[in-house]
C-alpha cells in the first residue's frame, strides 16, 4: 500500500495540521493543533474499556508484563490513566484546565500507588504514567474506570473519555473492550464507541476480550475451554460482528501472575502440591477452605497471597501442573500460566489488526480532532474555519487508505450486506500486512501475468456487482472501493518490485 504513488496518508494529514497551525497561530487553539501533530508521530493509543471490575487494569498489567496499574476487588481505577513509554519513571496529572502536575508515587507489591491526596479528583482529566517498558514502545495503553459503575461519576469519566457524544473527538485510536459475558450494556457501549470516527460507526478499530475467562467455567480445570467455546459463539454472532473484529477469551490475572511469578511463590505452590490428596482436594474446593488454618503447613497469610495472585482457578491449575510434571520451576509455571491465559491470542490480534493499520488509525483520529478544532474556530473566524474543514474533507476523500477503512467499516458493521463469498474475498483483499499474491487470493509462486489477470478480473467483477440494480448507495460505494483496490494492485504489479519483497 505504501508503494502508492500518492502521498502516504500520514503526510497528508500532517499537511492539514500545518495549515491548521498557521490558522490558529497565537490563539488558544494552537496547543491543541500541536497535540494532534505530535500524536501522529506517537504510539498507537489503545484504550482498555469495559464494565466495572471486568479486569481492565489486570489485563493492562498483563499486556505490559508488569504489575503497574493498581487492581482491587472493590472499585479502584477512578481516573483515566495513560501508560506510555518514557525513558524515566514519571507520573503526571493533567487537569481539565490543561495544567500538568507531577505526582509522587510508591509501588506496593509492584502496583503503583499514586499520591493524589492533595488534588481534587474532579479536576483531573487524566494521569499519565511514563515507564521505560519495551511493551509500551509501539502502543500507549489507556486504563479507564468502569462503565455502569455504581459511582455515576466514574462512569461519566469513561464515557467522556471515549467521547460517546458527538462533539468531542476520542483520545483513543483503538479499543480493547472487556466483557465478562456479552451483556446488553456491553453491546450498547461497543456500538456507541464505534459511532464516532472519520468513517462513522466502525468495528475496524475494536476487539473484544471475554475477560476473567477462568471464572466462566466456575474455576474448573477445563474453564478456558469453556470460555473459548463461548467467545467463538459471540464471534459468529451477527450483531457482535458488526461491533468488533474478534473476541478473545483472556484470563488477565493468570497472565499477569504468569509474567511476574516469583521463585518463592513457585516454591509455595510446590509445597502445596505435596499436601496429602484428600486434604488438598478439600482445600481446593473453596477459597475459605483453602485458607483453613489447620489445612496446610503454609501460613494462612501466604495462602491468601497465593489466592490473590492466582485466584481459585490459578491455584488449581498450578497444582495440577506441578503434579503432572514433577519438578516445575517458576519458569515452567510461568510459561504454562501464560499459555493457558489466552494472552497470546490477544497480542496476536493487536499485532495483526491494530499495528499494521496504526498509521491510518492515528490519521483518522487526528482528522476527527482537527474537525473539532475547525468547529471551535467557527465562531471567531468562520472563513478560515470553513477553509480548514474543506481541507480536512479533501484529505479524507483523496486518501485511498481512508476509502479502504471506510469499506471495512461498511462491510464489517453490516451496513453493506456482502454475500459469504464476497465477504471472504473482501477480508482476503484487505487483510493488513499481507503480500499482493495473498491479497489476490493467488498462489505465492504465481507469475506476474497470472496476478495481473486476477487483479483485472477483480476490477471487472466488482464493477458488475456495483452496477446491479439492487445495489443501494452504500453497496455501490463498497463495490467501487473493492474495484479501486484491485486496480491499485494492478498498477503496483506493473511497476518493477523493489528488491526484498
Amino acid at each position: 500500500m505504501s508503494a502508492n504513488p500518492v502521498l502516504a496518508v500520514v503526510d497528508r494529514v500532517r499537511m492539514v495540521c500545518s495549515l491548521a497551525a498557521d490558522i490558529v497561530i497565537g490563539t488558544a487553539l494552537a496547543p491543541q493543533v500541536d497535540a494532534v501533530r505530535a500524536r501522529l508521530d506517537g504510539a498507537l493509543r489503545i484504550a482498555i474499556a469495559g464494565r466495572v471490575k471486568a479486569g481492565k487494569s489486570t489485563l493492562l498489567n498483563a499486556l505490559v508484563g508488569e504489575r503497574l496499574a493498581p487492581t482491587n476487588a472493590g472499585e479502584c481505577t477512578k481516573v483515566v490513566t495513560w501508560y506510555q513509554y518514557g525513558t524515566a519513571y514519571d507520573v503526571t496529572a493533567v487537569g481539565y484546565d490543561g495544567r500538568s502536575t507531577s505526582i509522587a508515587f510508591r509501588r506496593v507489591d509492584g502496583a503503583l500507588n499514586f499520591d493524589i491526596e492533595g488534588l481534587r479528583l474532579e479536576a483531573i482529566e487524566r494521569l499519565v504514567v511514563s515507564w521505560p517498558s519495551s511493551a509500551l514502545r509501539d502502543i500507549t495503553l489507556i486504563d479507564t474506570p468502569g462503565l455502569a459503575s455504581l459511582s455515576a461519576e466514574n462512569s461519566l469519566r469513561t464515557t467522556e473519555f471515549l467521547a460517546l457524544d458527538d462533539t468531542h473527538p476520542s483520545d483513543a485510536d483503538a479499543v480493547i473492550y472487556l466483557m465478562r459475558h456479552l451483556h446488553r450494556r456491553d453491546a450498547e457501549f461497543l456500538g456507541s464507541f464505534m459511532d464516532r470516527s472519520v468513517a462513522g460507526a466502525s468495528p475496524v478499530n475494536a476487539v473484544a476480550v471475554l475477560s476473567r475467562a477462568d471464572e466462566i467455567g466456575a474455576g474448573r480445570l477445563d474453564a478456558m475451554a469453556s470460555a473459548r467455546r463461548i467467545s467463538e459463539r459471540y464471534e459468529t454472532n451477527d450483531v457482535v460482528r458488526t461491533l468488533c473484529t474478534a473476541v478473545a477469551p483472556v484470563a488477565g490475572l493468570i497472565a499477569e501472575t504468569g509474567l511476574t511469578l516469583r521463585e518463592d511463590e513457585a516454591w509455595a505452590l510446590r509445597r502445596l502440591a505435596a499436601t496429602p490428596a484428600p486434604v488438598l482436594e478439600r482445600m481446593l474446593r473453596a477459597a475459605d477452605a483453602f485458607c483453613d488454618p489447620g489445612a496446610s503447613e503454609l501460613t494462612v497469610e501466604l495462602r491468601r497471597q497465593l489466592l490473590d495472585r492466582l485466584g481459585v482457578f490459578g491455584v488449581r491449575f498450578c497444582v495440577a501442573e506441578i503434579r503432572s510434571h514433577e519438578s516445575a520451576t517458576a519458569n515452567d509455571l510461568s510459561k504454562a500460566l501464560v499459555a493457558e491465559s489466552g494472552l497470546d491470542a490477544l497480542r496476536g490480534l493487536i499485532a495483526d489488526l491494530f499495528l499494521p493499520r496504526a498509521h491510518i488509525l492515528k490519521a483518522r483520529t487526528a482528522l476527527v480532532s482537527l474537525r473539532s478544532i475547525a468547529r471551535d474556530l467557527e465562531s471567531s473566524d468562520p472563513a478560515r474555519a470553513y477553509q480548514l474543514a474543506a481541507e480536512i474533507e479533501r484529505c479524507e476523500a483523496s486518501a485511498p487508505d481512508f476509502a479502504e477503512l471506510r469499506l471495512s467499516h461498511l462491510v464489517m458493521s453490516g451496513i453493506v450486506a456482502f454475500n459469504e463469498g464476497q465477504r471472504r474475498e473482501f477480508s482476503v483483499l484487505t487483510s493488513p500486512g499481507t503480500g499482493v499474491e495473498e491479497r489476490l487470493g493467488d498462489d505465492p509462486a504465481a507469475d506476474q501475468a497470472t496476478l495481473r489477470a486476477s487483479a483485472l478480473a477483480g476490477v471487472e467483477r466488482w464493477r458488475t456487482y456495483g452496477s446491479a440494480p439492487m445495489a443501494d448507495i452504500a453497496m455501490r460505494e463498497a463495490c467501487e472501493t473493492m474495484a479501486h483496490t484491485y486496480e491499485s494492485l494492478f498498477v503496483q504489479l506493473h511497476e518493477p518490485r523493489p528488491a526484498g519483497i
Binding site: V52, A152, D308
Partner: protein, 613 residues
C-alpha cells in the same frame, strides 16, 4: 374484641384444631363441612407461595435453585443456560408439563425430566424459539411440600432493560424474591436500580451473594454491597451462598464444607420471611372457617336440645326453621339479588377492563408512533423498544391488578347484600343468641396481614393478590416479555428482533432520506404487530379470568348457602324427632348432645378469637 394476634397464632396448632373440627363434622355426617375444612387444613400445611429467583444472567440462579432442592433439576451451563421460566412446585409424583404457545393457543405437553434441557435451556431451545411460555415441574420434595413454588427465571441482560421492567411488573403477584448476584464484583448500577424497585414492590426480598467458593474476596464484596444498601436506605441481610458446596455434587462425607455453603441459612430465611407468614395467614383463614362451622353445628345441636328439654316449643321452632329454609331457597335461586349483582358487576368489570386496556394500549401505540418519527439513531431505537416493553408490561399488570381487587370488592358487596336480605332470618328462639348469618362468610375482615404486605406505593389494592390465580397467569405474560437468554444476543425482545436489525449499524443522520422513511415504516409496522399480538393474547386472558371470577364467586356463595340450608333442615328434622321422643331415649339423647356440645366448646377454645362479636 381485639384483633387476632399474629404472633399467638401457631399454624401447627391451628391445623390440629381444624382436624378436631373435621372429626366432629365427620361424626355428625356433615360431608360438606368436612370437605371445606380439609381444604383449609391442607392450605395451612401448604399455603401456595411463589418465590422468584431473579438476577442478571450467569449469576448462579439455576444452581441456587438446585442447591435449595438438593437435586440437579434446572439445567446449568457455563454459557447462557435458562431460556424459559420454570415453575417448581409440589406434586405427589414427579411430573413435568411444558406450556407452549402454538398459533393462538397454548399447548401443554408432558415431558421427562431428562428432556428438560431441550425445552428450558439455551442449548436445546435457543432464544426460546419453541415459544415455551412456562415449564411446570411437580416434585414430591419436602421443601415444596411446605407450599413453596420456586420460579427459576432466564437471566436478564442489563437489568435496566425491558424484561426487567416486565419482571418488576410481575412482582406484586409474587410472595417473595431471591435476588441473586455473584461475589465476583459489587452490584452494578443496573442491578442496584432493579433491586431498589423490586424492594418497593415486594415486601420479601432476599439478597443472595453467590459463588463464595470461587471468590476469595467475597467478604469485601459483601461489605461494599451492604454499604450500598445502607446508603439507599434499603438495609437487609446479605446471604452469602455457594451452591457448589451444597447439594448435588457435594460428597456426603464432608458435612463441614456443606455447612459453610450458606444454603441452610438461606433456607431458614425463606422459611421465616415467606413460608411462615403465609402459613400464619392460611391458619387464620382456616380458624375463621372452622369457627363459623362450629357456630352452625352448635346452633343445630342446641335447637334439638331445646326441643328435648321443652317439647312444647317444638312447633314454633320448626315453623321458623321452615321459614328460614324457604328464604334460603330464594337466596339460592337464580333470581336472588346477589346473583344478579354478581352478573352485573362482572360484566361491568369485563367491559371496563377491556376498555381501559385498549385505551392504554392505544396511548402506548400513539406514543410510539410519535417517537418513531423522532428516531435519530439505532440507540434511540433500543431505548424506544425498551420503553415499549415497559409500558406494555405496566399496562398489563394494571389490568390484572384491577381485576383482582374488583373481584374482592364484588365478594364483599355480595356479603353485605346477603346480610341485608337476611336480617330476620334467624331461626333461633328469643332465649338464644342469634345465629349470625354473616359468620358463614369467614373471609370478610380476615386479612390480618394487610399491614405487612404490599409495598407502600401500591397501597392496599394489592393485598390478597399474592398467590392469587392471576399470579400464575402473569407468569405466562412475563414469559412472553422475558425473552430468555436472547438478551445475550441483544435480541432481547420481540420488537428488537424485528427492528433493532432494521436499524443496526445505520447512522440515520447520514443515510438516504427515502431509506430512513422506509425503515421508520417498518418500525411502525413491527410495533403495531407486537401491540396487536399482545392485545389479542391479553384480551383472551381477560375473558378467561372474568369467567373464572364469576364462576368462583357464584360457586362459593351457592355452596355456603347450601351448607346453611342443610343445617336448618337437619335441625328441623331432629327437632321433630326429638318432640316425639320421651323418657329413657330423650335422656340418652340429651346426654349425647351435651357431650357433643362440650366437644364444640373445647374445639372453639383452641382457636383465637377472630371477629369482633
Amino acid at each position: 374484641m381485639s384483633n387476632p394476634n399474629l404472633a399467638e397464632a401457631r399454624p401447627i396448632d391451628i391445623a390440629a384444631a381444624v382436624d378436631a373440627v373435621i372429626a366432629l363434622a365427620t361424626d355428625l355426617g356433615r360431608a360438606d363441612f368436612v370437605h371445606r375444612l380439609t381444604v383449609a387444613a391442607a392450605r395451612v400445611r401448604r399455603p401456595a407461595t411463589i418465590i422468584c429467583v431473579v438476577g442478571e444472567f450467569k449469576q448462579g440462579k439455576s444452581s441456587l435453585v438446585n442447591a435449595l432442592l438438593g437435586q440437579a433439576i434446572c439445567p446449568v451451563d457455563d454459557d447462557i443456560a435458562t431460556s424459559a421460566i420454570t415453575l417448581l412446585r409440589y406434586g405427589a409424583e414427579p411430573h413435568i408439563d411444558v406450556r407452549r404457545r402454538v398459533d393462538d393457543g397454548i399447548v401443554v405437553e408432558q415431558i421427562e425430566l431428562s428432556a428438560l434441557a431441550d425445552w428450558v435451556s439455551e442449548r436445546g431451545n435457543p432464544d426460546n424459539i419453541k415459544a415455551v411460555e412456562r415449564v411446570d415441574i411437580s416434585l414430591p420434595h419436602p421443601l415444596l411440600a411446605n407450599g413453596l413454588a420456586i420460579v427459576d427465571t432466564p437471566g436478564m441482560g442489563g437489568l435496566g432493560a425491558g424484561h426487567a421492567a416486565a419482571t418488576l411488573a410481575f412482582l406484586p403477584f409474587a410472595d417473595g424474591l431471591v435476588f441473586v448476584t455473584d461475589a465476583s464484583c459489587e452490584l452494578s448500577a443496573p442491578e442496584a436500580e432493579f433491586l431498589d424497585r423490586a424492594c418497593e414492590l415486594c415486601p420479601n426480598v432476599l439478597f443472595a451473594l453467590t459463588k463464595t467458593d470461587l471468590y476469595p474476596a467475597w467478604r469485601q464484596i459483601a461489605a461494599i454491597d451492604a454499604e450500598r444498601l445502607r446508603a439507599a436506605d434499603n438495609e437487609r441481610p446479605i446471604l452469602p451462598v455457594s451452591s457448589m458446596l451444597y447439594g448435588t455434587d457435594v460428597d456426603p462425607g464432608d458435612e463441614s464444607l456443606a455447612g459453610t455453603s450458606g444454603v441452610p441459612a438461606l433456607l431458614e430465611a425463606l422459611d421465616t420471611a415467606i413460608i411462615a407468614p403465609a402459613k400464619t395467614l392460611a391458619a387464620l383463614r382456616a380458624a375463621a372457617e372452622a369457627t363459623g362451622i362450629l357456630d352452625q353445628i352448635e346452633q343445630q345441636l342446641r335447637i334439638e336440645l331445646d326441643v328435648l328439654v321443652d317439647p312444647a316449643g317444638a312447633a314454633e321452632i320448626v315453623a321458623r326453621l321452615a321459614d328460614a329454609t324457604a328464604h334460603l331457597d330464594v337466596l339460592r335461586g337464580p333470581g336472588a339479588r346477589w346473583s344478579l349483582l354478581v352478573a352485573d358487576r362482572v360484566s361491568d368489570l369485563s367491559n371496563n377492563s377491556g376498555h381501559q386496556f385498549r385505551k392504554a394500549m392505544r396511548l402506548v401505540s400513539r406514543d410510539m408512533e410519535d417517537a418513531i418519527e423522532l428516531l435519530k439513531s439505532p440507540e434511540d431505537w433500543d431505548q424506544l423498544a425498551r420503553r415499549l416493553q415497559t409500558d406494555v408490561a405496566g399496562t398489563v399488570t394494571t389490568v390484572f391488578v384491577g381485576i383482582e381487587s374488583e373481584a374482592q370488592a364484588i365478594r364483599e358487596a355480595v356479603i353485605d347484600l346477603i346480610g341485608e336480605d337476611s336480617v330476620d332470618l334467624s331461626p333461633m328462639s328469643a332465649r338464644r343468641e342469634r345465629l349470625d348469618v354473616m359468620s358463614i362468610w369467614t373471609d370478610k375482615g380476615v386479612d390480618p396481614n394487610a399491614k405487612h404486605r404490599g409495598g407502600e406505593q401500591l397501597g392496599s389494592a394489592l393485598v390478597g393478590l399474592r398467590g392469587a390465580q392471576s399470579g400464575i397467569i402473569m407468569f405466562g405474560m412475563v414469559g412472553r416479555f422475558l425473552p430468555a437468554g436472547a438478551a445475550a444476543l441483544m435480541m432481547s425482545n420481540p420488537v428488537t428482533v424485528g427492528i433493532g436489525a432494521v436499524f443496526a449499524g445505520m447512522q440515520l443522520a447520514d443515510a438516504h432520506k427515502r431509506k430512513i422513511a422506509m425503515r421508520r415504516q417498518q418500525a411502525r409496522a413491527n410495533v403495531r404487530q407486537f401491540l396487536d399480538d399482545v392485545q389479542f393474547a391479553i384480551g383472551n386472558e381477560i375473558g378467561e379470568v372474568m369467567r373464572d371470577v364469576q364462576r368462583g364467586v357464584r360457586d362459593e356463595f351457592t355452596e355456603r348457602i347450601s351448607e346453611l340450608g342443610r343445617t336448618y333442615s337437619d335441625a328441623a328434622r331432629q327437632a321433630q324427632q326429638a318432640a316425639q321422643q320421651g323418657g329413657e331415649a330423650a335422656r340418652d339423647r340429651i346426654a349425647v348432645l351435651k357431650s357433643t356440645l362440650e366437644r364444640v366448646a373445647q374445639a372453639r377454645r383452641t382457636f383465637p378469637r377472630l371477629m369482633p362479636s
